[in-house]
Symmetry: none
DNA sequence: CATGAATGAGAATTCATTCAT
DNA sequence: AATGAATGAATTCTCATTCAT
């Protein structure tokens, strides 16, 4: 459809130049469609960007959700989710760039949309983490905060995703394993009562 | 001094709107100084932004370095470093926003500066991590990559920093502890040979 | 065409105010076209000016060349050339003003273009003068320098052109005749060996 | 005096960059005097330029008048006047540049001042020419117009002056002689009734 | 429906010019 | 008397946005 064609072009261009430096001219050129068409189908630049964000966010979420395999135990779910995430990043670099790099810089409205997306990802992870924690009897301990843990985990995953863009020799499975090893083992320790504490 | 006054205003405005949407008019208004003064003291918009970035990056680095306490063991260094980082973020929200959110969007020159800054942070962390790993006999294991670990850790720290901006009821010490518990324990496990592995 | 419309306006405005004082605003107003159109059709102010200069210089050269009648003897060629020149000046006052008055003031690039144009005119005149001189046996005499003579002649012609703008009751033929009488007769004398010399 | 210092600097700078591109900053720097002083002594930029023009025009006129030697016959007067003119140009290149190149481009007021100066020069020359012509019985002939002749002569002299700036190996005396030979001989022919006429 | 052509509104940047000391 | 510091007022140029065809 026409709409899709335009959105594809827009994502490509926004990813390349960022929201502000991207020009409607370039988008229309890349899309092979005249500017008035863009306005008629998708509205003004801001709307267009919003629609890009939403579509890509949807895709990302869907990809991750599809990979989760909710019949497995939490750690395996997490692992599969991470792999899906990295596969998505690898396959749709532009989408990832737009979501991660560009969307935050516009301020206001988009930052909120992205925050929302991130929140949903974090919620999913939190659920996993908390489920696992509850099951093993980890209550409200000062050394622990489900949401905060999830936030950290998501941040770590994102950061590694960026790093991966320049180190694509590593496989998505290995990348996910690193993260699991980094986080999950520590998490298990916490559950089992061993805690890191400043010694001073 | 006049220069400082202007830089402060610039950081504030850049932090609020991002590089592109920030207008010299608004900066001059916030600084309480006419536009020509800005140009005379700090040059064109790009220069101004560069100077903001550099000043804030310097401050951040200095703050963290001051907090490191290199006489302590690596884990304590990391913990103190993290606390300093979070204190900085708390005290200079705008600085952090500019460095973290806005600097990447201008392209070329600034992205490089920020990447450099981040790289230095990652190097420091890597050094700590690797030192600790070496000391405990962790060689080249597939489950482990010093740099990648550092990247993940930095990402997690950044992500928590953002989260913290909306949850400032937690103290910087607690925040740092969470991260230590998340990462260090898992790290210790790795060293001791216990590894997470997908079971399928 | 739109381009022509704009160039006409530009020549008019540049002629009235000179390059620096002419504002794109005024040009766009005179052209009855919005500023962005100017930029889209003819580029930035400097390009616009360059295109004015080139168009007018081309017209002038063409007008003079068309009038030369190279089948006639040198003096007649000169006379016809002069008439064409004056007719051009009369018909395109603004063109002449821009070429003669304004183009030198921008510096570098344009000064060079104009100097080039003038040089070509001087070369043509020199050729005529020298041809005539050779034919009549005027060698290398201290009292004579072909190029310098041409320079003087061109200067005289230009000066008369300016004067004419305020005395247009005279016909172009008469104007050209004056110049021929002033110069050519003296030139003939030179050839025949009669020389003016300071007597002191 | 302070005033002179400033005017000297102004002439230098105006000559180098032209009226519009010359900045008050540079003038004040070259003059070694602060900008407010310039304003207090000589007024705004336009006034300053006007005063430059007037001073230099005065100098030029004076130099030429001093060289005229009104006790000699017209042709010798002319010759001496020309020599003085060229000597002035050689000695005060900047003055000449400002008067000849820059003053015309500002439009309005200054063009008028320069036109005035030129008119006075032309009047002097006209007087000489007409005197000579009268004395020799040259009445009102169609082939001749005293003022126009003078205009042409002045233009030729100016043009040669410019040429000379790049060919300074020629002496001022030779330059003046060329001009005399070019013009005066022809003038004599006219007086004696030999006339150039288009033959067609 | 689709577009080439057109523009309004706004941003950066630069100076001539003047206070406040 | 003299100046460093400050600014108001332009001016060039760009783009998101919309007619007219």
């Amino acid at each position: 459809m026409r709409e899709r064609q335009i959105l594809d072009a827009a994502v490509e261009v926004f990813s390349r130049h960022g929201y502000h430096s991207a020009s409607m001219d370039e988008i229309s050129e890349v899309a092979g469609v005249s500017k008035p068409m863009i306005y008629s189908y998708l509205g003004a630049k801001e709307d267009l960007f919003a629609k890009c964000i939403r579509r890509e966010a949807g895709r990302l979420l869907e990809a991750v959700r599809d990979g989760l395999r909710s019949e497995l135990p939490p750690d395996m779910q997490l692992w599969h989710g991470l792999r899906s995430f990295y596969r998505f990043v690898a396959e749709y670099r532009d989408s990832w760039t737009v979501l991660h790099r560009q969307a935050l810089t516009v301020g206001g409205r988009f930052a909120d949309e992205i925050t929302m997306l991130r929140s949903r990802a974090i919620e999913v992870v939190t659920a996993l983490v908390v489920t696992a924690g509850m099951k093993k009897g980890l209550g409200d301990r000062a050394e622990f905060s489900g949401p905060a843990l999830a936030v950290a985990l998501v941040g770590a995953a994102e950061s590694l995703a960026d790093w991966w863009l320049d180190h694509s020799e590593v496989s998505d499975g290995v990348l996910a394993s690193w993260l699991m090893n980094l986080v999950w083992l520590g998490f298990n320790d916490l559950i089992e009562g061993s805690v890191w504490r400043p010694e001073e």
